[in-house]
């Protein structure tokens, strides 16, 4: 078991590629992606019912134990979140190592 930070990011589906690029850039050790989900927030309801994916969100989960990576990820996310909306939550977790 190892301490790590669990990062959870919800953004709209169409910017998922930008988040992946960012994760590669900052050197995140991996991610899990739940695509095509729904939600509601300041920018209205995303019902997941539009063909262009405009009304869908996606959720990233990233386990990371490297603080510099986390900091650059946060720095890279901020402008993206203020442009396109979404949320990013961080919490502590234990990572079961095999």
């Amino acid at each position: 078991m190892k301490q790590c930070t669990r990062i959870e990011i919800v953004v709209e589906q169409s910017v998922s590629g930008q988040v992946i690029d960012l994760l590669h850039k900052v050197g995140a050790p991996g991610y899990t992606l739940i695509p095509d989900i729904r939600g509601e927030g300041d920018r209205g309801t995303r019902r997941g019912d539009e063909l262009a994916g405009d009304s869908s969100n996606c959720l990233f989960i990233i386990a990371c134990d490297d603080d510099t990576i986390i900091e650059s990820l946060k720095a890279g996310l901020r402008p993206l979140l203020s442009r396109s909306g979404g949320v990013c939550l961080l919490s502590a977790a234990e990572w079961l190592r095999h």
Partner: protein, 326 residues
């Protein structure tokens, strides 16, 4: 009047109503999302292929080339006056996005118009599919250029802009790519290719359109509800624009059609292209190249107002105008 009624009582349009009614009645009727996407891929694939096969048998002549050119010009000009009218009335990013939306086209409106012509026994040229494909991108580019020209002096930052991304979104969006690709494949394989897949492409077309419009009815009605909830002052401008712009653009289309002396079917399709507004390719592109624009403005306008207006009232109305003018 007859045309109106017979249009309104065609199965696809009635299924559009049914979808809208389902939302109004708060039924939980729903087309699963991946299915809706598949139905739309099918329609793009089929119409593209059909258009390509038609092009293969009736090769290019001057009038076709002129029509294609006029279509592209139309798609670049509409955003100009739309933007100019809106830019001091609503946020500038929204104005640019709306301009792009109305310069571009709605493939499903086009498809509905072709099936209207088919059912009425009026012929139309396969190159109109190419015209539709050509009209998607210019509007996106013009819209963004307008935004950059007028917004940046206003002090907006713009470090995230990239021409390559803009062009990719404008020209390689999935739905544009599929329709152009199918058009080219239809054109390469010609009638021999069509004979292999015609039952899939032709016989199922109207049935699939029914189910797809059922979904569109559901989605459009949900957006109307959203609009009602928003209900600001700006909204009344947007709603008015969503009703006026298609008619205005249709007039422009009619002018060009009669200047080029197009046939009845092609003229109607050009007008429908002019009058229609994108709700797939442009909104998808805008979220990436112009995320500042509020999708709550341009999307409900095109999806919930202009689209139903065009398929329910517009097509037979434009048809009557074509008959009357040409």
């Amino acid at each position: 009047m007859d045309t109106f009624l017979s249009n309104l009582s065609s199965p696809p349009l009635l299924f559009f109503f049914l979808g809208a009614l389902a939302v109004a009645a708060r039924s939980d009727l729903e087309i699963p999302n991946q299915i809706a996407k598949f139905l739309s891929l099918y329609l793009l694939f089929a119409i593209g292929f059909k258009g390509g096969v038609a092009l293969a048998v009736a090769p290019f002549d001057t009038q076709i080339v002129l029509t294609l050119g006029a279509a592209m010009v139309l798609s670049a000009v509409v955003p100009l006056y739309t933007f100019m009218f809106l830019r001091n009335r609503i946020p500038i990013a929204d104005a640019a996005a709306i301009a792009a939306t109305y310069g571009s086209v709605s493939a499903v409106t086009f498809v509905t118009a072709t099936s209207y012509l088919d059912v009425s026994g009026i012929s139309w040229g396969g190159h109109m599919v190419a015209a539709m494909a050509l009209m998607e991108s210019p509007a996106i580019i013009v819209g963004l250029l307008l935004y950059r020209k007028y917004a940046l002096t206003d002090g907006d930052d713009d470090d995230s802009f990239s021409w390559s991304q803009l062009l990719r979104e404008a020209c390689l969006n999935g739905s544009i790519f599929l329709i152009v690709g199918s058009l080219i494949i239809g054109w390469i394989t010609g009638p021999a290719g069509m004979s292999q897949i015609s039952s899939f492409i032709q016989d199922l077309f109207l049935g699939v359109l029914c189910l797809f419009l059922l979904d569109m009815g559901i989605v459009a009605a949900r957006r109307i509800k959203d609009l009602r909830n928003a209900g600001s002052k700006a909204m009344s401008i947007l709603i008015t624009m969503a009703l006026v712009l298609p008619l205005l653009n249709a007039m422009l289309g009619l002018g060009i059609a009669s200047a080029l002396d197009l046939d009845e079917g092609d003229a109607l399709l050009l007008i429908v292209l002019a009058a229609s507004a994108s709700y797939i390719a442009v909104p998808a592109a805008m979220r990436l190249v112009l995320p500042q624009a509020n999708p709550g403005s341009y999307l409900p306008m095109s999806l919930a107002i202009t689209f139903p207006l065009n398929i329910l009232v517009g097509i037979p109305l434009y048809h009557a105008l074509v008959r009357w003018t040409l």
